[in-house]
């Protein structure tokens, strides 16, 4: 598991790219006050790739929308790319790239035209915009569809265009809101190759939200777990898993009596003849346990060892599984929409 990679030579200073203190957002919805984000503190250093993980409705997008100046916070403050989100939203907007949950390209616009318009939006000159657009079309493999209307693109192509639009002005910080949701596995993998590539070649700071466990696990250097509007854990995926979840070891015996006897020695839960134990370093403990139990006359018939996932972390933190939550999505934008009502 790569942690901090050593490829950020261009970012010698370790300034904070994002600092937030007590960021809070409450909505009024049908006469009730909904606390979408509750006093979130966060720090993202220059050059980091941080994932915001949590179920739908956890407040990830609302937090992102506050950091990107789309939504004014109810209270709290934040500095993004060196600018205050309340007092200098224009400064924030100039410095960041943002890829929202939806499709960023206008449906009747052509791909290349949208990139040119985007360059102009950021005050770039004509020649610079054209060169940059050509570069992005090339690197994000949009050449085949550059003259097509956005509405004719596939899901994966649209998402790559969104990334290109977010990068036109070479932002130092890129926000990605659920970048791979709704994509087929192939397009997802392809999109991630592009994002990893971008990181390696430019050292851009990336802050993203996802509810895909494997995505956060494999790609982010740091994972912030969010639930019910609050950040409940913040560390590397590796540290979260080893400190909060531990390995899961199951041992099967010839009888329930043996399993109970083994559980009284090692500790663990029994279900019939199967004993389950969660422990750090379970992989190393397993052979020792089998040996010790055998010496005591308790023969292990079958054994499994499973490394913890971020889902186990979420389960340990909240008592709920993130997989179940992801299976029944609650549309988060519904809350967001009620904001200005």
């Amino acid at each position: 598991m790569p942690r901090k990679t050593g490829d950020m030579t261009n970012h010698t200073h370790s300034a904070q790219m994002i600092t937030a203190r007590g960021l809070t957002k409450t909505f009024r919805s049908k006469g009730q006050t909904v606390e979408a984000v509750r006093a979130v503190d966060l720090e993202v250093a220059d050059g980091e790739l941080v994932a915001f993980l949590g179920p739908n409705g956890a407040g990830k997008s609302t937090t992102l929308r506050m950091l990107t100046t789309l939504l004014p916070p109810t209270s709290g403050e934040a500095s993004v790319a060196g600018c205050d989100i309340r007092h200098d939203p224009a400064g924030v907007r100039r410095r960041i790239g943002y890829v929202g949950q939806g499709s960023s390209g206008g449906h009747t616009q052509r791909v290349r035209d949208e990139l040119h318009a985007q360059g102009a939006f950021y005050g770039m000159g004509r020649r610079e915009t054209r060169a940059r657009a050509a570069e992005l079309i090339e690197s994000l493999e949009l050449g085949q569809v550059a003259n097509r209307q956005v509405q004719a693109l596939s899901g994966g192509q649209k998402r790559r265009l969104d990334i290109a639009l977010g990068l036109i002005h070479r932002p130092e910080l890129l926000f990605l809101d659920e970048p791979s949701t709704g994509l087929d596995p192939h397009s997802r993998a392809n999109l991630w190759d592009h994002i990893v590539d971008l990181r390696r070649s430019t050292g851009t700071t990336i802050f993203l939200t996802t509810h895909y466990l494997d995505e956060a696990d494999q790609l982010a250097e740091r994972v912030m777990v969010m639930d019910h509007g609050a950040v409940i854990a913040d560390d590397t995926a590796w540290a979260l898993k080893s400190s909060l979840a531990g390995d899961r070891v199951t041992l099967e015996f010839g009888s329930a009596t043996d399993a109970a006897a083994a559980a009284s020695r090692i500790g663990g839960a029994i279900d019939g003849a199967v004993m389950t134990v969660t422990a750090q370093g379970g992989d190393r403990a397993l052979p020792r346990w089998i040996r010790e139990l055998s010496d005591a006359g308790l023969e292990v018939v079958a054994a499994t060892h499973r490394q913890p996932t971020l889902d186990d972390v979420f389960l340990a933190l909240t008592g709920r599984s993130l997989r179940e939550e992801a299976a029944t999505p609650v549309p988060e934008p519904a809350v967001t929409t009620a904001a200005a009502a």
């Binding site: 499709s103 206008g106 939006f121 070479r170």
Partner: protein, 272 residues
């Protein structure tokens, strides 16, 4: 080891940061205008396509009017064509908010809100775009009528299109305002659109003279800015540039424009 060497190696690995310049209202408006106009340039046929409705009225309603007027083709067209021009302006700009509505739902509008663009420019640039199809469509309608005996007065047409353009910017801005307040409720947008459009059209005297209608209709027409616009277009296209009706039309167009841009900019500033 020189400073230049260090700088250039850094530039080589990172690529230079784009020269993001502060933008101003006028520049932003032009940028938004150019983006909005591009699909028209790429697909000019869409402009012709939205001419179907006014041309149907001209071709199918016109003969009925001519019949009622005892067969006076030229005279009827002189009266009817200016009304069709106002119809072009009304229907073309009234539904333009649907584009914004769609962009709000896809995420494309959100992208423009995160860009360092003036909120006012996002509205004004879009509204100004309305002038382009309006002018093209208005010109086509007039040219179609000429072979049938419509007498073309070029200065009058230019002035008439200018007044229509001012009105179109305002009415387009109102359509965008409606879209911004409907958010994801398409049905509400189209309900308001349909409910308002036909009464506005009929109570403007665009299709039939209102002089023979009941008193309440004449009162309604008197408070309908479109009535003044229709009267002004009739005077202008007849070449009567000094008519008092022209003043009324200009006031109606400017007022629509001022109100539309005001509420539109306010709605866009509140957008998030």
């Amino acid at each position: 080891m020189t400073t230049t060497a260090t700088t250039s190696s850094t530039t080589a690995t990172t690529g230079p940061a784009a020269s993001v310049r502060p933008t101003g209202f006028a520049r932003d408006t032009a940028t938004v205008f150019v983006r909005e106009s591009r699909p028209l340039v790429r697909d000019p046929f869409s402009v012709i396509f939205s001419l179907v409705q006014p041309l149907v009225f001209l071709g199918l309603f016109g003969p009925l009017l001519i019949g009622a007027a005892g067969g006076d083709v030229a005279g009827t067209l002189q009266w009817f064509v200016p009304g069709i021009l106002v119809m072009v302006a009304l229907f073309g700009t009234a539904s333009t908010g649907a584009n914004l509505l769609f962009e709000m739902q896809t995420g494309s509008h959100e992208r423009t809100l995160v860009a360092p663009l003036s909120r006012s420019a996002l509205l004004v640039g879009r509204a100004l775009k309305e002038v382009v199809p309006l002018t093209i469509q208005g010109t086509i309608v007039v040219l179609v009528a000429v072979p049938f005996g419509f007498r073309l007065d070029v200065p009058g047409l230019v002035a008439g299109l200018a007044v229509l353009a001012v009105f179109g910017i305002g009415f387009g801005a109102l359509s965008y305002t409606l879209a911004l307040s409907c958010r994801n409720r398409d049905w509400m947008f189209w309900m308001v659109h349909q409910t308002l459009l036909f009464p506005l059209m009929i109570l403007s005297g665009m299709l039939l003279p209102l002089e023979d209608g009941p008193d309440w209709m004449q009162v309604a027409a008197a408070v309908n800015p479109l009535s003044y616009l229709v009267a002004a277009e009739r005077a202008l296209l007849a070449g009567d540039l000094g008519s008092p009706d022209v003043i009324g039309g200009i006031i109606a167009a400017v007022a629509t424009c001022a109100v539309g841009v005001f509420v539109g900019v306010r709605a866009m500033r509140r957008a998030n």
